[in-house]
């Protein structure tokens, strides 16, 4: 029963994908959208069933299907594992997934390839479920690569535009860099412990005597590289902002709520590995903190509404990694969940705005949408408050815990994280003000067509806004349901509910204050002074550097892409020809010898006889005189 249900959970989106890809075109847009959505909802329902079961029984469910890859010292099978972590993840993956599917029915209605869009979305959900549900690292890897593929397909959904295709390709390749790291990590774990199964791995590590920490650290580091790629951390983060080329629901689902959190999922899953590699944990924390700050600074000056959100995502993911690095896995998971709510809402909201403006994404051409788009505005506002860490919205609780953990471990990390939070508040409200307040700055035509989005779009917004508002309840500082729920997963004792003393309250106050300061500055700048960001060419100074994202893309382009391309040119034009002429030069030389040899054969009998005589003399001399 459980097996079948789990398979249903897994395969429902896949069947949706199959159905849509083969028949979607014939059954009409709405029908294909509905089927796609239903498939995910089905999964969601199954997940709910498992959630209640596991929440009650605390028993993980293992499902083994059949052998897959055979290695000399171990076998990898198609196995699935439903435990607290995976079910939790599935819950919001399928849950938010369902909402976004619903949203897309309306949002993508004008696109001729809507059935494909739903097919890809379903496929994504399928792979995401595989990723989460897999009971070993290789099944995770299937999902890991699979979601990368869907990300590729969906970013490049409008494939007529080669820039979008470039973005899609970039996302795929940067992910693959991480994937290589992940694979290497898998190799090391596999050869050290002869298993890739989570459970056996955990017991192997637990049971191992004199573990080689270095090997384990290398493995952990490699895994972390994988996580970096998927979760857009420095140095592999540049694909995520570019990935905004895809349709907005995609950004919401894949590049905000679900896929990018896979890295966090994986590290949480393998917490027992990372716990044994403190050096790697430090690296993770530092990388997370730096990423959150860098991304936040870039987000300060961006003018594309989705780009701001994208950098915001990177920044938030950085905060989660910070928590992971500090060993506070449950805190990271908490932030993942709240982030999924409010970031999905923000993206969908921005989608609603873009929808209303017929594709306009530049905030300089927006403004004053409060009146026409009330629901969108309110949901957006709630989510913005949540992400800015204003109580009592969900973000406040999760972010605060991260800051708390950071403060406990390292004051510098806390400062960085706090700065990032402050900036978050600023750029989010900058976004909000520029988009919804003041006068409309777009064209007349756009102005005439301004409208609130249909119910199919606003309904998910409302649901998500509610979740963003109340999501913090699952892990209140003093009474955390989440911590208790996740506790069986972690080898270390989960942080005891904090003793809330003066320090904690001060910190909380500082955080809230920081958020308010950020909001205040934004208010002053964009409401009071009605400032509008300069057009591209007028941006100067630090702002220009920030606006151009520290020129990281350019640097990568120069260092990696250009050099590899010029290497390719070099190889193609010179090394290849060189090698060819080296090998076939021998043939040429022989040929030339033949040509020169023809001159000796000049037709003269005298010469021939002379050679005859010389040959005779040589042989006779050698045989009879030289001895």
């Amino acid at each position: 029963m459980d097996t079948n249900l789990a398979l249903l959970l897994l395969l429902a989106p896949f069947l949706g994908f199959i159905f849509n890809i083969f028949f979607g075109k014939n059954i009409g847009k709405t029908a294909s959208g509905v089927i796609g959505t239903l498939a995910v909802v089905l999964s969601f329902a199954a997940t709910l069933y498992f959630f209640t079961q596991i929440n009650a029984s605390q028993q993980a469910i293992q499902i083994q299907l059949f052998d897959w890859i055979q290695i000399s010292n171990f076998k990898v099978d198609f196995g699935f594992l439903l435990d607290q972590l995976s079910v939790l993840w599935l819950l919001f993956v399928t849950g938010i997934g369902s909402l976004i599917h619903l949203y897309s029915i309306s949002y993508m209605h004008d696109d001729e390839n809507m059935h494909k869009f739903f097919a890809y979305l379903n496929l994504f959900i399928f792979f995401m479920i595989t990723l989460v549900m897999g009971s070993n690292l290789l099944v995770l890897f299937i999902g890991w690569e699979g979601v990368g593929l869907c990300s590729y397909l969906l970013i490049g959904f409008w494939h007529k535009n080669q820039d979008f295709n470039d973005a899609a390709k970039k996302a795929f390749i940067m992910n693959r860099i991480g994937d290589l790291g992940l694979l290497i990590g898998i190799f090391i774990l596999g050869s050290t412990f002869s298993t890739l199964d989570y459970a056996s791995l955990q017991s192997a590590i637990a049971g191992a005597t004199n573990l080689d920490v270095t090997t384990l650290s290398i493995a952990a580091f490699c895994l972390f590289i994988g996580a970096c790629g998927k979760s857009a951390q420095i140095p592999l983060y540049t694909w995520l902002p570019d990935a905004m080329a895809g349709p907005t629901p995609v950004s919401a689902l894949i590049h905000a709520a679900t896929m990018v959190t896979a890295g966090i999922f994986m590290i949480t899953r393998l917490n027992y590995v990372f716990d044994l590699a403190p050096d790697v944990q430090n690296i993770i924390a530092i990388v997370g903190a730096v990423t959150s700050l860098v991304a936040a600074t870039i987000a300060l000056v961006q003018t594309d509404i989705k780009k701001v959100l994208a950098y915001s995502t990177v920044s938030q993911l950085g905060l989660m990694f910070l928590a992971l690095g500090l060993g506070a896995y449950e805190v990271a998971v908490f932030h993942v969940i709240t982030h999924a709510f409010f970031k999905a809402c923000l993206f969908l909201g921005s989608g609603s705005v873009i929808h209303a403006l017929h594709g306009e994404q530049d905030m300089r051409n927006m403004g004053g949408l409060t009146k026409v788009m009330g629901i969108t505005f309110f949901t957006f506002l709630i989510s913005s408050l949540a992400i800015s860490g204003i109580p009592p919205f969900s973000g406040f609780f999760s972010k605060d815990e991260i800051l708390l953990v950071a403060f406990e471990n390292n004051i510098a990390l806390w400062i960085i994280a706090s700065l990032a939070s402050l900036m978050t508040a600023f750029y989010m409200f900058r976004l909000l003000y520029l988009t919804f307040f003041n006068d409309f700055r777009g064209t007349e035509e756009q102005k005439n067509h301004l409208h609130e989005s249909p119910a199919l779009i606003t309904f998910p917004l409302i649901v998500l806004a509610i979740l963003a508002a109340i999501g913090g309840l699952i892990s209140l500082p003093t009474n955390s349901w989440l911590n208790g729920y996740l506790a069986p997963l972690f080898s270390k004792e989960v942080h005891e509910a904090h003793h809330f003393g003066a320090t904690e309250y001060t910190l909380m106050g500082i955080a809230v204050l920081g958020g308010l300061i950020g909001i205040g500055i934004a208010f002053y700048k964009y409401i009071k002074q009605k400032e509008v960001p300069e057009s591209d060419e007028n941006i100067t100074g630090i702002a220009k550097t920030l606006y151009n994202k520290y020129y990281v893309d350019e640097a990568y382009d120069l260092i990696f892409v250009k050099s590899i391309n010029s290497a390719s040119n070099l190889f193609r034009d010179h090394v290849e020809t060189g090698l060819t002429s080296l090998v076939f030069g021998l043939g040429k030389i022989t040929n030339e010898l033949g040509y020169q040899g023809k001159k000796i054969q000049n037709g003269s009998i005298g010469l021939y006889v002379l050679f005859f005589v010389l040959g005779l003399c040589a042989i006779v001399t050698y045989l009879f005189l030289a001895q």
Partner: protein
């Protein structure tokens, strides 16, 4: 009867034959006139014939001389054919210089 080689020595015959043979070789190389080249070849064959007879005496054996007959027959046959070819060339080209025979080369 005393063996005549006791007086002269087989080596001398060999040397004579070798030198004669070499003159023949030299002629083949030196002369461009095909007929003279033929003659040079005849000289070579004769040098060998001479040596055959000398060896025949050396071994007191008839066979060497018999072989000279065959060698003569061969020489005659070769000359006949050779001259026939030569005449043919002369008819076609009007010359018998072997320097002119350089159409086939390379």
């Amino acid at each position: 009867m005393d063996n005549i080689l006791n007086e002269i020595g087989i080596e001398n015959y060999i040397f004579l034959a070798v030198i004669l043979f070499s003159i023949g070789v030299c002629g083949v190389l030196y002369r461009r006139n095909a007929i003279i080249v033929f003659m040079s070849i005849e000289i070579m064959l004769n040098a060998v014939n001479l040596l055959f007879v000398a060896f025949s005496t050396y071994h007191q054996d008839t066979q060497g001389q018999i072989f000279v007959f065959f060698s003569m027959a061969v020489a005659a046959a070769e000359v006949a054919v050779g001259l026939a070819i030569l005449v043919s060339i002369f008819k076609n080209m009007g010359t018998i210089s072997i320097d002119k025979l350089k159409n086939l080369k390379g």
